[in-house]
């Protein structure tokens, strides 16, 4: 994994920060009452990012705080970013089989104490591989043709549930 971990990372990060700035300043909707912090990313090897860019724009326009990364993130990089940005939902976009390593992402999130973060996957996931993802803890899988409303509603619900759990965890019983 040397190439991916070391060579790509620093570049991916600076790129990510630039893109992040653009996304947040371009927000056009009025902020919703409780904007959810969502990370939209692609892990693995594929670079087809039309889907992730459109989803990031949808969620931004719905008033959420979107952290967007370019493709090819490493799993450890995504975990670190999730910690750093304190996100409640992670959306992983996959076109070309990168969903196959999403279970590894969930495992590493749990190891980092982020097992309360909701993870959703969008893109091309063959029916026969849905169970592999849901068994690993993926909250929702959005296939091609999913509507904007469907996606935004799911993120609203999942994000609110995460926030709820977190706030209850903070109050000592």
């Amino acid at each position: 994994m040397g190439g991916l971990d070391d060579a790509d990372r620093s570049h991916a990060y600076s790129e990510c920060e630039r893109v992040l700035a653009r996304i947040l300043t371009k927000r056009k909707a009025a902020p919703v009452d409780t904007p959810i912090r969502v990370l939209i990313t692609k892990i693995g090897l594929d670079g087809h990012d039309r889907g992730s860019r459109i989803i990031a724009a949808y969620l931004r326009d719905a008033g959420h705080e979107v952290v967007y990364t370019p493709p090819w993130q490493t799993i450890s990089g995504v975990v670190r970013l999730a910690l750093q940005e304190d996100v409640e939902v992670i959306g992983v976009s996959s076109l070309a089989t990168d969903h196959l390593i999403v279970p590894d992402l969930l495992r590493e999130l749990a190891e980092a104490g982020l097992d309360d973060v909701a993870v959703v996957v969008g893109g091309i996931v063959p029916d026969s591989e849905h169970a592999m993802l849901t068994d690993a803890g993926v909250g929702r899988i959005f296939g091609p043709g999913s509507s904007r409303d469907e996606i935004v509603d799911a993120v609203n619900q999942l994000g609110a549930a995460v926030r709820d759990r977190r706030s209850r965890a903070e109050v000592p019983a």
């Binding site: 653009r22 090897l45 087809h48 039309r50 370019p70 196959l100 091609p144 043709g145």
Partner: protein, 553 residues
């Protein structure tokens, strides 16, 4: 019967039309051009036939780049294939050749696109979307039984073109002369990778620019039957550019590459006859036909008037068309057979030189054997049963198609002027200008689908309740043979000559540091010496800069 004047007849038609049709409904094509319900000699009368259309094989090539077009020779049937291990690929290629394909292509594994070898990426991702080819042994195995001197091979091979280097090393091994090798470097267009299809992007922008020119110069000298430049409009359109924007960006990119080569002393007529183009053919039927007819006409003028080419071969706009995967749906997947056939007819009426038809399961997985067979059969049916090839440019002279060709040309030239104003394509992508335009068009297209303005059967209309037909299981490489492949690769790295490898890598560094040396020549030497794909890319990334695309969200 009394004589009716054309204007009176037209007025009567307009009145009758208004009684039947909704006049408020404005139809626009994907490029934003308003489409009227009827076209007549008022829209295109044919006085400018010679200047705007001419004859096939003659300037401005609107009607086709060869005098006989499909009467002489039909398009090359070139299916994009890539899966599993080199042995898996070889089995599929032989099957496709037996089915009637006349040329082959090779899509490497996504790990290869990232510039990595198979022993440095997560194992589940190997070979799922392309073939794992990391050294000359892998290429030799993949092309086993494929006569390199007579079958044209197209490689999906971004800078620094390691796959072509492995092909040449294989040819060297088999005693095939380099000047017998024909084919295309399908992914040589680093600008389109920087802008749109990010998965192919590897070296820094200036590094890619230098290696591309070196590659063109090397092929010109050593592999004259090879097309070193394929300008890929497909990526722009797949990422969301409209058909008109796509053609504009593609032509602007081609101008950039030609002028970069000329700045290094290459004569336009020495390079332009080997320039090729690669496009998406969408289901927006007439718009696609007009896009390609307009593109041919513009390119003929640019090469002659701006680039100064004198050889008519330099003026010809040769292109490969791939039916657009963006139009295919995961819902009711068999419907895609109809979509692909429609796109393919648009491609044929556009006068393409080679074609890939997508398999119907494209929106779900890499093609299965059955879906790949239907994709090839679709081309066979259109070519041999449907009489589509009898007449050259059969839509030429249609009032609508000629008018639309003019309108598309105007729109393409408008976008090209924006790029020119920004300092040309290299500069316009460096600033994010092009990325912003594509992003806006992509979002607008999705919003039209979400709003039901653009209808997609099975997605926003005619959804089927029992749409959960059993999906075919996706292609996944056999775990054991992939593990064996990776193990053999590790053995290869342990057993090869260290001094040869060091010599190869030193050669790469020396070439990268010295502008007077040819970097691609050093890639071929390194490949022949047993340096792996990942090692070649890593060395050049170190020397010429790591490539990250500029993504504008």
């Amino acid at each position: 019967m009394t004589a009716v004047t054309p204007s009176a007849a037209r007025e009567r038609w307009a009145a009758d039309y208004a009684k039947q049709a909704d006049l408020d409904r404005v139809v626009r094509n994907r490029s934003g051009i308003v489409v009227e319900p009827l076209y007549t000699p008022d829209d295109w009368a044919g006085e400018r036939y010679q200047a705007d259309l001419g004859f096939p094989g003659q300037e401005p090539f609107t009607r086709g780049i060869y005098p006989s077009m499909y009467r002489g020779r039909t398009w090359t049937q070139r299916q994009l294939i890539g899966l599993g291990t080199p042995a898996d690929y070889n089995a599929r290629v032989r099957q496709i050749l037996d089915l009637g394909a006349s040329a082959i292509s090779l899509l490497p594994c996504n790990s290869g696109f990232r510039g990595l070898d198979c022993d440095e990426v997560p194992a589940p991702l190997l070979g799922t979307c392309g073939t794992v080819i990391n050294n000359v042994d892998h290429m030799d195995r993949a092309l086993d039984g494929v006569p390199l001197g007579s079958i044209s091979t197209a490689m999906n091979d971004p800078t620094p073109f390691t796959l072509l280097a492995f092909v040449l090393a294989t040819a060297h091994r088999r005693g095939v002369a380099f000047d017998q090798i024909t084919g295309t470097s399908n992914q040589s267009d680093y600008i389109s990778h920087f802008v749109a299809n990010h998965m192919f992007y590897r070296l820094s922008q200036p590094g890619s620019r230098r290696v591309l020119v070196d590659h063109v110069a090397y092929c010109r000298e050593r592999v004259p039957g090879w097309n070193p430049v394929s300008v890929v409009g497909q990526h722009m359109q797949q990422a969301g550019a409209t058909p008109a924007e796509t053609m504009a960006f593609t032509l602007a990119t081609a101008i950039q590459y030609a002028e970069d080569c000329m700045a290094r002393g290459l004569h336009p007529d020495a390079i332009l006859p080997r320039f090729t183009f690669f496009f998406d053919v969408s289901i927006s039927f007439f718009e696609e036909v007009a896009k390609f007819r307009a593109g041919r006409r513009i390119w003929a003028r640019i090469t002659r008037d701006r680039l100064g080419a004198k050889d008519p071969r330099s003026w010809r706009f040769k292109f490969h068309g791939q039916t657009s995967g963006v139009d295919l749906t995961a819902q009711q997947p068999l419907n895609n057979v109809a979509r692909v056939a429609t796109q393919a007819i648009a491609g044929i009426f556009s006068g393409l030189q080679s074609m890939h038809t997508d398999a119907y399961d494209e929106a779900i997985t890499c093609p299965t054997e059955e879906s790949a067979r239907i994709a090839v059969a679709t081309q066979n049916i259109l070519r041999e049963e449907a009489h589509l090839c009898d007449v050259i440019d059969p839509l030429g002279g249609s009032y609508y198609v000629e008018h639309l060709t003019d309108q598309m040309e105007e729109e393409i030239l408008r976008v090209m002027a924006v790029i020119e104003e920004a300092g040309g394509m290299y500069a316009a992508v460096g600033s994010g200008l092009v990325q912003g335009m594509i992003g806006r068009s992509a979002l607008a297209a999705q919003e039209r689908i979400d709003a039901g303005v653009d209808r997609v059967i099975g997605v926003n209309c005619y959804e089927s309740e029992d749409d959960n037909e059993e999906q075919p299981p996706p292609y996944r490489p056999d775990r054991e043979s992939m593990e064996a492949h990776v193990a053999a690769f590790r053995d290869f790295k342990r057993s090869r000559s260290e001094s040869e490898v060091r010599r190869g890598i030193d050669g790469l560094r020396a070439a990268a540091e010295d502008e007077s040396k040819n970097v691609f020549a050093s890639v071929v030497d390194a490949a022949t010496a047993g340096v792996t794909h990942g090692e070649i890319v890593a060395t050049l990334r170190d020397e010429l800069g790591f490539g990250n695309p500029l993504i504008v969200a």
